[in-house]
Assembly symmetry: C2
Homo-oligomer: 349 residues x 2
C-alpha cells in the first residue's frame, strides 16, 4: 500500500485527526474544502463554492445541491431532523436562485432506532416536502450497528431550475451593494442548544427552520439580476457566510449591529450560553446582497412575505478592507468580525 | 406532542425498533420502502421503484439517484468507500439507462478519523470520478462526535441524461425475455466478508467494484429499446433484485444455475462462510433483461467489453409462477429462490 500522507494538502503533523471543528462551518471546515476537496475534485462548478452547483441541461440551468443532517437532538422546538433536511436542501437550491424540482432522501439509521421515531421523521419530511410542493423522488436506506451511528442521519440532495432572470453568485457582490436579511438571527442554533443544555426560558425558543424558495422567488421576480448574492447563514451564522462572500468577491463588508434583527429572548439566551449571535446557525433566514437601486423594493417585498416580516437592511459592500467584515456596534465602535477559528456549536444541522 | 405511532404503517408491536436487517436489502428493507416510504412520499417517479428517478427537464430525460455508503471496513481489496461511492451512484444512473452528468459528495466524518485516511478516500473518489469522466460538482461535510459514527459515511447523489433510445424500467420485463449478466457474481460481498472475518485464501478475493456506465451505453447502442430492464444486484444480490423485478412486472423468472458465472475461489469462500452466492452483493455487475431477438447480440457486446468478458445468459422470463424466481440447479432440480427474509451481510456497501 502506498503511503499517501506525504501528498496530503492538510499538514498531517498539525491536524493528524478530524475534530468536531472540521464540521463547524468555520476556518477548519473552510480549510478542508479549499485545500483538500476543491483541488482534488477540481472542476468549474465546484470552484464557485456556491450552496449548489449550476449545470446546463439542454438549455435549462439546473441547480444541484446536497446536504447531510446530523442534528442532535433529532426532535427540537420548531422542527426535527426530517423537516430540517427538506428545508435545508430546498434553501440551498433557493440560494442558487432555483425553484426546487425534486429531492432525494437517504437515511442512515442506527440499529435500535424506535420505529415510531422513524415514522414521525418520515411524516415530517412528507409534510415539509408537500408544503414546498417538491416531490421526494428517490431514496436509500442503510442501517449501521448500534453505537456506530446516532439514531438517524439524513442526506437530502435536490435539483432545481434557475429562471432566466436569476443570476446570483458569491462573486457578484459589488461595492455599493446593500445587504439585507429576511428576519431575526440565531434562532435555530439557540433552540438546539437550549434543548441540549436543558435550559428553560419564559418564551420557548423555537428553530426558525423554514423553506425559503417562495420568498426568494418573489425577490427575484421584483429585482431580477440586480440580486447579486443569496446565501443562507446556517452553520457558522451570518458572520461566517459574509466572511466567505467578502473573500470570494474581494470586497469589504460593513454591518450595522443596531439594524440586525435579534429577538430579546435569543439575545438573552446567547448571553447565558456565551455565544455571539452573529455566529449562531439559522435555518429559515437568508442574506440578499442587491444593487442599491433595488434595495428598498426588495425590503418591501421581503416584509410583505410571512417569512420576511422582520426583514432589514443590515449593511453594505464597501471598497475598504477587501476580504474582511466589520461591524459598527450599537455604541458606534467598529470591530472586525472574523471567521470562526474553532468549534462553536457541533451538530447543529 | 401527538402520538403518531398509531398511524405507523409498520406494525410497531412486531417491529418496535430498526434492526440491521432493515438495511440488508431483503424483505424487511422492502417492507420499509413499500409500506412506509413510498406511500408517505407518494409520487409517480418514486413509485416506479427504479434505482433512480426519471424527470423531464425542458425536453431532456434526467435520471436522479442517491446512495449512502456505510461499508465496513472502509478499505478493502479491490476498492474503498470512496471509489465504491462513485461507482455505486454511477451504476444507479446507468441502470436507468443514463449517462452520468454530475455527482455530489456528502461526507459524515467521525471525530478522530485520521486525516490521512480522509485524504486517501478523497483521492480514491477523485480517481474513480476521473476514470468515469463525471465531475463531483457539489458537496457537504459534517463531523459527528466520537462513538456516534464509524470513521466515514459517504452519500453520493447523481444526475444523468437518458438518451432517446433508452427505455428501461423494471415493469418492462416480458414473457420470453432473456436474462443476462456481465460476469461472475458475489465478489464484492465475499471480499468484504473475508477481510472482516480475517480469512486468507490462496487467491486474494477482490471486490468487483467498477463503473458500468460505458458497458451499459454500448448495450443500449446495439439494442436500444429492446433492452427492457437493467439492474445492478448490490445488497441482497442477484436473488433479491430478480425477486423485485418478478414482483413489479408480475412475471416469473427462471434461472439456470450452471450458467451463472461464479469464480471457484468465491464459491469456496461462500461455502466456508455459509453464504448462498445468489444473495451476496456485487458492485460491478448488472442484470440486463432483453428481448429474445437481441440476446445474442447483447451477449457479444458484453463479452467485447473489459467489464463483460465472462458475461452469460443466465435465465429467462416465463409466464409460469408470476412474481416468483425459480432456479434450475446443476443436477436438474427446480427450487424457488425467495427474497431474503432477514439479514445476511450488514454494511456491505
Amino acid at each position: 500500500m502506498i503511503d499517501l500522507s506525504a501528498t496530503c494538502p492538510i499538514p498531517i503533523s498539525d491536524y493528524p485527526h478530524i475534530t468536531l471543528a472540521h464540521g463547524g462551518g468555520g476556518r477548519l471546515t473552510q480549510m478542508l474544502i479549499e485545500q483538500m476537496f476543491v483541488p482534488a475534485f477540481a472542476n468549474a462548478a465546484l470552484e464557485t463554492l456556491h450552496d449548489g452547483a449550476i449545470l446546463d441541461v439542454s438549455g435549462a440551468r439546473l441547480a444541484f445541491s446536497t446536504d447531510s443532517f446530523v442534528v442532535h437532538p433529532i426532535f427540537f422546538p420548531g422542527g426535527d431532523i426530517g423537516s430540517l433536511a427538506v428545508h435545508g436542501t430546498v434553501n440551498d437550491l433557493a440560494m442558487c436562485g432555483a425553484r426546487p424540482l425534486a429531492l432525494s432522501s437517504a437515511l442512515i439509521l442506527e440499529e435500535g432506532l424506535p420505529m415510531s421515531d422513524l415514522w414521525r421523521i418520515v411524516q415530517s419530511m412528507q409534510n415539509a416536502a408537500r408544503a414546498v410542493g417538491v416531490p421526494i423522488v428517490t431514496g436509500d436506506t442503510k442501517v449501521v450497528d448500534r453505537g456506530k451511528g446516532d439514531g438517524v442521519f439524513i442526506n437530502t440532495a435536490g435539483i432545481g431550475i434557475i429562471p432566466a432572470h436569476a443570476r446570483v453568485a458569491p462573486t457578484r457582490a459589488q461595492v455599493g451593494d446593500v445587504i439585507l436579511i429576511n428576519g431575526a438571527i440565531a434562532e435555530h442554533g439557540i433552540a438546539i442548544m437550549s434543548v441540549r443544555e436543558g435550559l428553560e426560558f419564559e418564551t420557548q425558543l423555537r428553530s426558525d427552520s423554514a423553506p425559503l424558495h417562495d420568498i426568494v422567488a418573489r425577490v427575484l421576480d421584483v429585482a431580477g439580476e440586480h440580486v447579486h448574492v443569496l446565501r443562507d447563514p446556517t452553520r457558522g451564522g451570518v458572520a461566517s457566510v459574509l466572511n466567505e462572500i467578502a473573500a470570494q468577491a474581494r470586497v469589504g463588508i460593513r454591518l450595522n449591529e443596531a439594524q440586525i434583527p435579534l429577538a430579546d429572548a435569543v439575545r438573552g439566551a446567547c448571553e447565558i450560553l456565551g455565544f455571539d449571535p452573529l455566529y449562531v446557525a439559522n435555518e429559515g433566514k437568508f442574506i440578499a446582497i442587491v444593487a442599491r437601486e433595488v434595495a428598498e423594493q426588495v425590503l418591501a417585498t421581503l416584509r410583505a412575505h410571512p417569512l420576511g416580516r422582520d426583514a432589514a437592511i443590515i449593511g453594505e459592500v464597501v471598497a475598504e478592507h477587501p476580504g474582511k467584515v466589520y461591524l459598527r456596534s450599537r455604541i458606534g465602535g467598529l470591530r472586525v468580525v472574523d471567521m470562526l477559528s474553532g468549534e462553536q456549536l457541533p451538530r447543529i444541522c
